[in-house]
Amino acid sequence: MATGVAAWLPFARAAAIGWMPVANCPMPVAPRDNSKKQDELIILNVSGRRFQTWRTTLDRYPDTLLGSSEKDFFYNEETKEYFFDRDPDAFRSILNFYRTGKLHYPRHECISAYDEELTFFGIIPEIIGDCCYEEYKDRKRENLERLQDDQEENKDMKIPNMNFRETMWRAFENPHTSTMALVFYYVTGFFIAISVITNVVETVPCGSTANQKDMPCGERYTVAFFCMDTACVMIFTVEYLMRLFAAPSRYRFMRSVMSIIDVVAILPYYIGLVMTNNEDVSGAFVTLRVFRVFRIFKFSRHSQGLRILGYTLKSCASELGFLLFSLTMAIIIFATVMFYAEKGSSSSKFTSIPASFWYTIVTMTTLGYGDMVPKTIAGKIFGSICSLSGVLVIALPVPVIVSNFSRIYHQNQRADKRRAQKKARLARIRIAKSGSANAFLQSKHNGLLNELLELTGTEEEEHKLTKSISLLESQHHHLLHCLEKTTHLRTQQWDLSDLVTLTQMTANSSNNQQLKAHEFVDEQLFEQNCLETALQTFPSRSPSVSDHDSPVGGCCGRRERKNNPLPNTSLLTAHPIPTHQGPLQELSAIHIQSGDPLSHTASRSNLNLKTGDSSKINCKGGRITTAIISLPTPPALTPDGDGLHGPPQRRPPPPPGNPPPPASRPRRAQLASTLSKSRLCNSLADRSNSAGERKRRRRREEEEEEAGNTRMTDASCLLLQGQRRES
């Protein structure tokens, strides 16, 4: 029911009183309207723009979103309005539909956006008013065609698991899909050209031989031409058979125009082979040779313009028919007139009406050969009328054909342009997607950094490093994380330069480290079960590291750690960072070690004790070793309780007491050793990494070596501080 009708229902019901006196039987009971609620204003907030309407207006169409209880889902209790997060401009027409009963399609609106809005609000597009329906339908059809075009483009994409036949067919239809197809395309094109040229040159008179006069080349070099012809026909036959084999529907292929052209092109040759050199038959044979010229039509597979022309002619069939019909009519009329006009004159060429046809055609198409000319005055008058009308008659249908051709041609051009643009568009989308994948890895890295930052507590660093990752992003990354966990696979590309910064971060420690480390560890522990298999290299790594601890004696601490394989490896495995690089995992290991939750006590030093011999750990060397290790492998610093307890400054105050130099010297020595060791570690880890990354890492390590010295002092200071605290 239309709009106002609902408002007029009381009137219609009241008017029904007019039937009452006439009725013979009692009337049914009227339904009671119990919901005697007042008509209230409803506020519809569509993306900030407030529309207000009466409730009864919306109730007019109870099978739409706004008219039914479905809108309650959008009710906002606080503001007492219905909030829709949609386009307010499109909503205008939808609300007007409720008000006036007519749905209008605004011309500036995109058709698919409008359709979406209609679907959202539960309105079927068929009720668009007549004023706008044509436009809507046209736009929709255009859109569909464009989508179909795109789909056809998608068909060009490689469909996996195509069998040989399908591949071949695709190669035939679309030469750009593979190199082989392109080669085939060009070869066949070449041979078509050769064949056509051969046919043409065959008839050119070559120089005369001694005994005979000028004869065409074909007869002079019969063998050569025959060989050429045979070669071409071989190629064409092979091509045709291959197409026939590859065609998805052979019957349909055989009926298609191109295949008929192919057959017609090669048949004459075979017929010529079959037929003997019989005199009476050779005449027919010669005629058949004419059909060889049809080979030129095979070019239409190679030329798009030709195809468009053919398609245009096909689509303009009615115009062409009209042209033909009108021409025929005019020819007959004028031929008759000319014949009778010229009948009187002597030696007139207009011997019969059909003979006059020739004159009429030549005149109407303004050719005017002059082989037949009227001599009488009447004939001349009618001849001039004929030529004038000829211009008109031919000029009328031609623009239609031309415009058809132009339209189809431009459509094709647009399709090509769209295809090219689509490729660019897809490329851009790919870049964006890969960018987001990188963002994931980056965020993981940042997430780790943030953890470390919290451990170190340097605020400025925190501000520097904390990228504003939105909640959405972080949730998305967490999701990808979970997937990684589930599949035991990891995404690659941890950047070593980031590790450098990590080192810097870990060099500046804060009081919060302990707790945070604990949290960090907890997370790792939680995840540890998933990645145990991945980090088999660790045990091998640790001995290498600890070996080099020995000179200073601090390796024992490491060894102790090594002797606790469970917390080590398991905790190591628990590291979420999906790299196979040693340093980072050492970071995690050390973190975890320090934050061993099983026997976690407040004091970092206690933790250290737990993981190893207290004596060994107490030795400066051990810590120093750790510190040193941490430089190329930044995390190494953190498990150091000293580092963790250090003040949140970049440059901690020089520790009193223990002379730094003696410490630094062994440290430096160990730095070198550990650097080489880290290289070894890296090489071990390199089993899973590419050579390029290896080189990159080595380069970076060399850089770090230089940079490491400065950090060394920091580390040493921290270490000494920690030592002080422990003692």
Partner: protein, 215 residues
């Protein structure tokens, strides 16, 4: 008193029409009509202010120009009876509503007619019904008039009815009606006969109260 008020309220409209004849001609292409104030209508009809508001909104929505001409009236009424042809009956209805017979139903006409139909006394309603049946408004319902009305009513039912509508059905119905109504058997039904007869008929009386809670 009420009549006086009606006259006074009607007069300004007419005065407007005579003095503004030139403007009226100019406005012929876009006929606009504004109803009298809400208070006046409230006084003239038995509707409350709110009801008048609702009625006017619906009225103006369907007829933005403020008056309903017969075509629009027929369109609107036909929408309620999609299966049949309600145009004939709508025509009679239009004439019944168009009390001043100027070819268009203004909001006042509309609302006053509704007031009678929905809030009027039984007498008034019967009066209105008689007015509806009396096509030429001569005070008598003849058999032909009644037949027209009856055919119009049956037309509204449409072609697909059960049992199938036969030619004589309206005629028979008219016969029944006249037998009931025409007391003195003079072939016409007068207003008094009509009202008397209806008041004595249980069914009709009951059905008169059927639509009282429409608005």
């Amino acid at each position: 008193m009420g009549a006086l008020m009606v006259i006074f309220s009607l007069q300004p409209k007419q005065r407007r029409k005579t003095t503004d004849s030139v403007e009226d001609e100019l406005e012929l292409s876009a006929v606009r009509h504004r109803p009298e104030g809400l208070e006046q209508l409230e006084a003239q009809t038995r509707f409350s202010r709110k009801e008048l508001q609702i009625l006017y909104r619906g009225f103006k929505n369907e007829c933005p120009s403020g008056v309903v001409n017969e075509e629009t009236f027929k369109d609107i009424y036909s929408q309620f009876f999609p299966q049949g042809d309600a145009s004939t009956y709508a025509h009679f209805l239009f004439n019944a509503f168009d009390t001043d017979h100027n070819g268009s139903v203004s909001f006042e006409d509309f609302v006053m007619g509704l007031s009678i139909l929905l809030r009027g006394t039984v007498q008034e309603k019967l009066n209105w019904a008689f007015n509806l049946y009396d096509i030429n408004k001569d005070g008598y319902i003849t058999k032909e008039e009644m037949l027209d009305i009856m055919k119009a009513i049956y037309d509204m039912m449409g072609k697909c009815t059960y049992p199938v509508l036969k030619e004589e059905t309206p005629r028979q119905h008219v016969e029944v009606f006249f037998q009931k109504m025409d007391k003195n058997k003079d072939g016409v039904v007068t207003i008094d006969e009509f009202i008397d007869c209806c008041q004595n008929d249980e069914n009709i009386m009951r059905s008169m109260h059927l639509f009282e809670n429409v608005l």
